[in-house]
């Protein structure tokens, strides 16, 4: 029975990773950039949610939506200010800029409010539901429900709407898409907006679930979500979901076996094994290098 409990914990953690990983994978799919600042957008989302709940005393769902909207705006600003002019620059230059943006966000937040952690207010009633002798907290179920709804929404946007079609076209071939009359710049901004909104949602969920947030909290989940995206095959949306959930489960299992100090190492070991054995990930396509 304890194992089922751990399974539930793993799925909760994994769905947070999956939400962040979606942003990584969409941005990478469309402009081939590892957006290191994505983990910090997740952190900003958690803080926006925190201030919305504790200052304005609104409920969980309004806070979630406010955080998603503001994070989407922040994501677009980051893209327009920092990444847009680097489209034709080398990969290393883009990567270094992303690292710079990440550090800038982290330390600007620390500069204005200090590095001290903050305790998330309780917005959701703490109750647990007994299913087949296993106590599952209502928060876990809510996290899972919110994640699933957001993922279905994302699938809908990507596959059924016009902007989703444009996003898929640009990620396949940006030049050809431009020739077909697609506004590539707006499409890329839309991708950043959607990815950042998901990260903002993950931030609020993280805060509600773990109740402790701090300015540097985005670094490690950000890296792990990136690992999840690589694991599932970067650029693939179902891959990010599967990768996030499996990474959450693996981490929980490693902790449950009594190696909690090695939990972070487990994620990096998975990353290195995946990169060496199958760099395209589970759902990724093998691309051949052209000269």
């Amino acid at each position: 029975m304890e194992w089922i409990q751990q399974l539930v914990n793993g799925i909760s953690l994994g769905s947070i990773y999956a939400l962040i990983a979606l942003g990584y994978t969409m941005v990478y799919g469309i402009i081939k950039l590892i957006n290191f600042a994505h983990g910090d957008v997740f952190m900003l989302g958690a803080f926006i949610g925190f201030y919305a709940i504790s200052r304005w005393e609104i409920g969980f769902f309004p806070a979630l939506i406010i955080s998603m909207v503001l994070c989407a705006i922040i994501g677009v600003i980051i893209e327009r200010v920092a990444y847009k002019r680097l489209r034709s620059a080398t990969r290393i230059a883009a990567l270094i800029t992303a690292i710079g943006v990440s550090l800038l966000i982290e330390y600007t937040v620390i500069f204005f409010r200090g590095a001290s952690p903050e305790a998330y207010p309780e917005v959701l009633p703490k109750s647990s539901i007994n299913i087949l002798g296993v106590n599952i907290s209502s928060i876990s179920i809510l996290i899972l429900a919110v994640t699933i709804v957001l993922m279905i929404l994302l699938q809908f946007i990507v596959h059924k709407t016009k902007i989703g079609k444009a996003m898929r076209a640009v990620s396949l071939d940006a030049d050809a898409a431009r020739l077909m009359g697609i506004n590539v710049d707006n499409t890329i901004s839309a991708t950043f907006a959607i990815g950042s909104a998901l990260a903002g949602a993950a931030g609020v969920i993280f805060g509600v679930y773990y109740t402790r947030i701090e300015p540097l909290m985005g670094v490690l989940p950000g890296l792990k979500a990136f690992i999840a995206a690589v694991f599932g095959g970067i650029g693939s949306i179902p891959g990010a979901m599967v990768g996030g959930l499996s990474l959450g489960l693996v981490e929980t299992v490693v902790s449950a076996l009594g190696f909690s100090l090695w939990r972070d190492a487990a994620a990096f070991v998975i990353l290195i094994l995946i990169l060496i054995l199958k760099p395209s990930g589970i759902f990724g396509k093998n691309t051949r290098e052209k000269v």
């Binding site: 620059a89 270094i96 330390y107 600007t108 990136f226 690589v230 190492a265 990169l275 060496i276 760099p279």
Partner: protein, 312 residues
């Protein structure tokens, strides 16, 4: 003839700098605070130059350099503190073990390219750090107490050796192979250059000197902790190389000196320091992606009346 002339100029310059600073220290003009900054400067120069050979010369983007520094620091500390060996032996041991670690990490990861390589090296550095965090023999999270044994002499000797070895490597056949990989890996491969070999050699040499820098660092403070060697440290080193110019040895040396002084003045405002660092990183990448010096060396600024390019 020309090469050896540059070498002698460099040696004389190094001797003069060493003698002047040593004289000031012996004369009691530079107190412990300034001595510490000077040693710190030497450590940062070594780190910058050792990363320069990986990123600037070979073009392999590694953001896990602090991991090798940690290996050097811990193994040299074990040698001097636990085994009672003298400091030079400890420094050598730390450097060699770090080089071995670089070899072990480099062989599997250097097949990867660009972003994937960056994230894999970051992963390895974090794994190294977590291993030190979990080994009780070296103190775990609390850290390991190390005596303060480094002097200006050791630190400066380390810098001179690092610069001589790496600049000679760059000018050698191996260095030209490494540069050709940076310029175009596929073309280099097609020309019959064993790209994997040169990448691993450059990576190992870089790790060796990162280990040496780590060893000197370990004996400069009274304690070493795993958190010191996290990826922020790797980014610090990266900033020296990027700011100085990707591919310019003297550029990374100048950037390391400059930023050490800046961070010494901002030591009481760590947040401001990081904000300035990150802004500099972004602005340099947006407006001058090759770094301040590009691939030029400082010596090329003093060559008058010559047209274009440097002769090698």
């Amino acid at each position: 003839m020309k090469k050896s002339k540059a070498f002698w100029v460099f040696s004389v310059l190094a001797l003069v700098i060493y003698a002047v600073v040593q004289g000031l220290i012996s004369g009691g003009i530079l107190d412990l605070y300034y001595q510490n900054i000077l040693v710190q400067m030497c450590i940062n120069i070594m780190l910058a130059v050792s990363l320069h050979i990986i990123i600037g010369i070979t073009g392999q983007f590694s953001i896990g350099h602090a991991g090798f520094m940690a290996v050097g620091a811990y193994f040299s500390a074990i040698a001097t503190m636990k085994l009672g060996l003298p400091l030079p032996v400890g420094l050598l041991l730390g450097a060699v073990v770090a080089a071995l670690a670089g070899l072990l990490v480099g062989i599997p990861t250097l097949r990867l390219k660009g972003d994937y390589l960056a994230i894999a090296t970051l992963g390895f550095a974090e794994i190294i750090r977590i291993i030190f965090l979990n080994v009780d023999y070296v103190g775990g999270a609390a850290g390991m107490v190390v005596m303060n044994m480094t002097t200006w002499t050791y630190a400066f000797a380390g810098v001179v050796i690092t610069i001589i070895v790496i600049s000679n490597f760059t000018k050698s056949r191996h260095g030209r192979g490494a540069i050709s990989i940076r310029e175009d890996e596929i073309a280099a491969d097609a020309m019959g250059i064993n790209t994997t070999y040169y990448k691993v050699v450059a990576f190992t040499i870089g790790s060796l000197f990162a280990g040496l820098a780590g060893a000197i660092y370990a004996h400069n403070f009274f304690i070493i902790q795993p958190t010191t060697f996290n990826f922020l440290k790797s980014f610090d080193i990266l900033i020296y190389v990027v700011l100085g110019g990707l591919g310019s040895l003297s550029g990374s040396v100048i950037a390391a000196i400059f930023l050490t002084v800046v961070s010494a003045y901002l030591a009481n405002f760590p947040e401001t320091r990081m904000i300035i660092y990150s802004l500099v990183l972004i602005l340099v990448m947006l407006y001058r992606p090759t770094g301040l010096m590009g691939t030029k060396e400082i010596t090329s600024l003093f060559k008058f009346g010559k047209k274009g390019g440097t002769k090698i």
